[in-house]
């Protein structure tokens, strides 16, 4: 099967989309951009191809009478189990690297004790992680680095209480090791992980246990379909670092414009708030960019702003939006400078303002900055599509909707659940058009 790939190398995350010849989305992949765009590209692409396998499973299993009415539930659980297998696989790697790192001669007599603690930590991790992937559970992040890091530090904090080894020393071992592990491309056989995950999923239900053989056959059949990389197009901030020729690179402006048009064909104005860029794009009825504006010289008011605030408040990024939605009064935050906003946040807290009210004010500050870039680009036209990582934040969406309506009147505002993939979708569509048209 011919496939077309779009890769969006953002400053925070790298996204990939795989399309077939009819421009149907087969799979989506995402990873943290690290400091290595080459690895991030490979990991995101690999992730998108694995996701494409689930698309193919669905196609092969949709007519299976035994799964009638339960297909979504089955595939959801199966995917979670597969992600768990992937995680456990990487955890084995991480433990090996951590242990090697603890052999460091500088640790002297502490080395043996450190290794013993590591064994305890990883034992705990192996026990706890399956709960994170259980049905109905939620995770702060889907990235191995984040999940492993938070579990590791929690376990380490508990275990060092009766030890000579300091928490910082254990954290240092982790920090040195994670970079190595996350920069490795997985080479272990996917089929084994799929089968193991399938066994796990089917083992939970008598009904599915009876279907195991049939399901294994379908999975093998789907895995046998060759996914041929026909054309790749890269976009995003890190695109220049890719080993792609010029024909395989498009600016993120064109990709976001086209991606938003594909997701919502009546899109006229696109706002994308990414990690360090805010883009306001005007497109025509075919998704062709007519004009655009981006933040200049300074990344104040971009996605990183919220990341920094989350760190300051010791919260996960995904927790900011829900917290802001609890606000009962408007707190005006004047600064869109990330560093100054941190100071303002501490000042407001010391004055007794409520956290949710302050966080709501911070969301308003970031969107006000975006409104200024939107007006520079020619304003907001109907329909208005909001994309990028910040579009996942319900509080940011609510303020944007309010301000857009206030300034430009009633309009349809689209926020796609897959909006983070908009740039990658545009890039993949360009790739598909190069070959198919």
């Amino acid at each position: 099967m011919k496939t077309f790939i779009g890769i969006d190398l953002g400053s925070t995350t790298t996204k990939a989309i795989v399309l077939d010849s009819d421009a149907t989305v087969l799979g989506r992949g995402i990873t943290n951009s690290r400091s290595n765009y080459g690895i991030a590209t490979e990991v995101a692409k690999q992730d998108a191809f694995l996701d494409a396998r689930f698309f193919l499973f669905r196609e092969l299993l949709k007519d299976l009478p035994a799964l009638d009415g339960h297909l979504d539930e089955f595939l959801g659980t199966f995917e979670q189990d597969f992600r768990l297998e992937q995680f456990l696989d990487q955890l084995v790697e991480l433990e090996k690297v951590c242990v090697d790192s603890a052999q460091d001669a500088r640790l002297g007599n502490d080395g043996a004790e450190t290794r013993a603690l590591l064994a305890d930590i990883f034992r705990r991790l192996n026990d706890e992680v399956p709960k994170l992937y259980a049905q109905g559970s939620s995770r702060k992040s889907d990235f191995f680095r984040d999940i492993a890091g938070s579990q590791y530090s929690r376990a380490a904090e508990l275990l060092v209480q009766d030890s000579r080894i300091s928490f910082e020393a254990l954290l240092n071992v982790y920090d040195r090791s994670i970079i190595d592990v996350e920069n490795r491309i997985s080479t272990s056989a996917d089929e084994a992980k799929f089968m193991s995950a399938l066994g796990r999923t089917c083992g939970r239900s008598q009904h599915l246990s009876g279907l195991l053989e049939e399901l294994q056959q379908a999975v093998r059949k789907a895995l046998d379909i060759e996914l041929e990389e026909s054309y790749v197009i890269g976009t995003g901030y890190g695109r220049a670092t890719l080993p792609f020729s010029k024909e395989h690179i498009r600016s993120e402006i064109l990709c976001h414009g086209l991606g938003a048009h594909i997701m919502h064909p009546k899109t006229a104005t696109v706002l994308d708030i990414g990690g360090q860029d805010t883009k306001a794009i005007q497109v025509d009825e075919d998704g062709i960019v007519e004009s655009f504006q981006m933040n200049d010289r300074c990344a104040a008011g971009c996605g990183r702003y919220l990341g920094y605030i989350a760190d300051e408040m010791n919260l996960g990024l995904h927790e900011l939006g829900p917290m802001a939605m609890q606000a009962t009064r408007k707190v005006r935050i004047n600064s869109t400078c990330t560093v100054f906003a941190g100071a303002e946040l501490r000042d407001r807290l010391s004055m007794g303002e409520k956290r949710e009210d302050i966080v709501s004010g911070l969301h308003r500050a970031i969107i006000l900055r975006a409104m200024s870039i939107l007006s520079r680009s020619g304003g907001v036209r109907d329909q208005f599509t909001f994309t990028g990582g910040v579009a996942k934040n319900e509080a940011a969406v609510a303020v944007l909707r309010e301000l857009a309506t206030e300034n430009y009147g009633e309009l349809t505002m689209n926020v796609n659940p897959d909006s983070i993939y908009t740039g990658a979708l545009g890039a993949a569509t360009f790739a598909q058009r190069v070959v198919v048209h």
């Binding site: 901030y237 220049a240 498009r250 600016s251 993120e252 402006i253 064109l254 075919d286 062709i288 960019v289 007519e290 004009s291 655009f292 504006q293 981006m294 200049d296 010289r297 520079r376 020619g378």
Partner: protein, 435 residues
């Protein structure tokens, strides 16, 4: 045009470039030794400069903005700006001013390493930039030297009236010329002025021919990055001199040869091979990263066919020439007609005519962070030009001579996006035409 990343390109220089280099160097030498040789020095600004008049009094001409940009190209302006900020000039002040004041504070050594002696007279021909007035106030305070100020009325309604001209002529006759006579000790000779203006008109004729050669396809010149070199002599200490006239004659011949051979512009890495996009640009270039900035264009096959910056020292392509038969009046018309003295609607009209006549594919604004006079209104201009021309417009922000305000990765990112947007629109337009 790709070259290995670690290989420094050999810069190609034509005869005219070498001529200009010698002229600039000789002027810095003349400034360095002026006082020893008993000559007086004038400082004046590029827009509205009265070079021919200053030559009538044997004054050696110093142009502070030229010093600032030359310092920036030699990577010296950053240090000067820091020096000026240390003495209390804020971060948002025009960086030409700070570079100049910093250079003064650091011992008045010019861009070529030669001393820049204290001027004997400051001639401020006010043509739209309010900062120039404040700049010379500071310089006068420092040097305690004579200042002559010519008030040039702003072309708010887009035309030069008789009253406006008369007002400038009156000042020239009653204030400027007597001041220059007093400072120099030389009596004004109108015939000497007529001769210089005759030279100017000839050079202006050739300059216009060169700039208009960009109407060819491919354009034999880059009218922005190359254009700033072409305007160098006529915008600075040389307009009216025989060297300048000879320079423009040589330049015209070189460009005519290029047109004949169907060649594109010369860039620091040789002749541009393929012309993919033709642009009109508003705003000055960035001087601290001039080559890197230019490379972002020629690497993508982008040529600038017309620019407003090459008109700040005089607008000649709508017919104005210095006139030896009406010398003082034509100096007045020159000052009144500088690009910096034009209103926003006039600037829009001029740029729209360039879009049309030079068959440009897009319009780009390089807005200057520290220039409050000319950055104001540029987004409105952009919208208007975009609408009237139907061509895509782009907007970037850099600075004149402060290296801290040139973010290479960001500028490149925005330019690439803009160029690809133009190509996408062009491709669609071509496809529609084909069907």
């Amino acid at each position: 045009m790709n070259i290995a990343a670690n290989q420094k390109p050999e810069v190609h220089k034509e005869e005219s470039m070498l001529m200009q280099k010698e002229m600039i160097s000789a002027n810095f030498d003349a400034l360095a030794t002026a006082h020893e040789e008993g000559k007086k020095i004038s400082s004046t600004f590029v827009p509205g400069n009265l070079n021919e008049l200053l030559m009538c009094f044997d004054l050696v001409r110093n142009l502070p903005e030229i010093n600032a940009l030359q310092s920036a190209m030699r990577k010296k302006s950053g240090g000067y700006i820091m020096e000026a900020e240390r003495s209390g000039h804020s971060e948002d002040v025009c960086t030409y001013v700070k570079s100049d004041l910093g250079m003064m504070a650091k011992g008045q050594i010019g861009p070529t390493g030669k001393p820049l002696p204290t001027p004997d007279v400051l001639l401020l021909s006010y043509t739209g930039c309010f900062t120039f007035m404040k700049w010379f106030e500071l310089v006068r305070d420092q040097y305690d030297c004579e200042t002559a100020m010519l008030h040039v009325p702003y072309q708010a309604d887009g035309e030069i009236t008789d009253n406006m001209r008369d007002f400038v002529v009156m000042q020239l006759k009653e204030q400027i010329i007597p001041t220059l006579e007093r400072v120099s000790g030389i009596k004004f000779d109108i015939d000497r002025l007529r001769e210089y203006l005759r030279q100017s008109a000839q050079a202006e004729e050739d300059l216009v021919w060169v700039l208009e050669s960009a109407k060819n396809r491919p354009s034999p010149i880059d009218a922005y990055f190359g254009g700033v070199y072409y305007c160098g002599p006529i915008f600075s200490a040389f307009r009216g001199s025989q060297e300048a006239t000879a320079y423009y004659a040589a330049l015209r011949k070189e460009v005519a040869d290029r047109v004949e051979m169907g060649l594109g512009p010369i860039t620091p890495e040789g002749v541009m091979q393929e012309e993919r996009i033709r642009l009109v640009v508003e705003g000055p270039p960035n001087w601290t990263h001039f080559r890197d900035f230019w490379k972002m264009f020629y690497d993508e096959g982008v040529v600038v066919v017309a620019s407003s910056y090459t008109k700040v020292g005089g607008v000649y392509d709508f017919g104005f020439r210095h006139d030896p038969d009406n010398p003082i009046e034509s100096l007045a018309d020159y000052c009144l007609g500088c690009y910096t003295n034009h209103s926003l609607p006039s600037r829009v009209n001029m740029l729209c005519s360039y879009m049309d006549e030079y068959e440009a594919d897009g319009f780009l604004v390089n807005s200057i962070k520290s220039c409050n006079s000319f950055s104001a209104g540029q987004l409105l201009m952009l919208r208007e030009i975009e609408e009237r021309s139907g061509k895509p417009a782009g907007f970037i922000e850099t600075d004149l001579v402060d290296p801290r305000y040139f973010s290479s990765a960001n500028v490149k990112n925005r330019l690439e996006s803009y160029f690809q947007m133009i190509e996408q629109k062009k491709a669609r337009g071509d496809a529609k035409t084909a069907t």
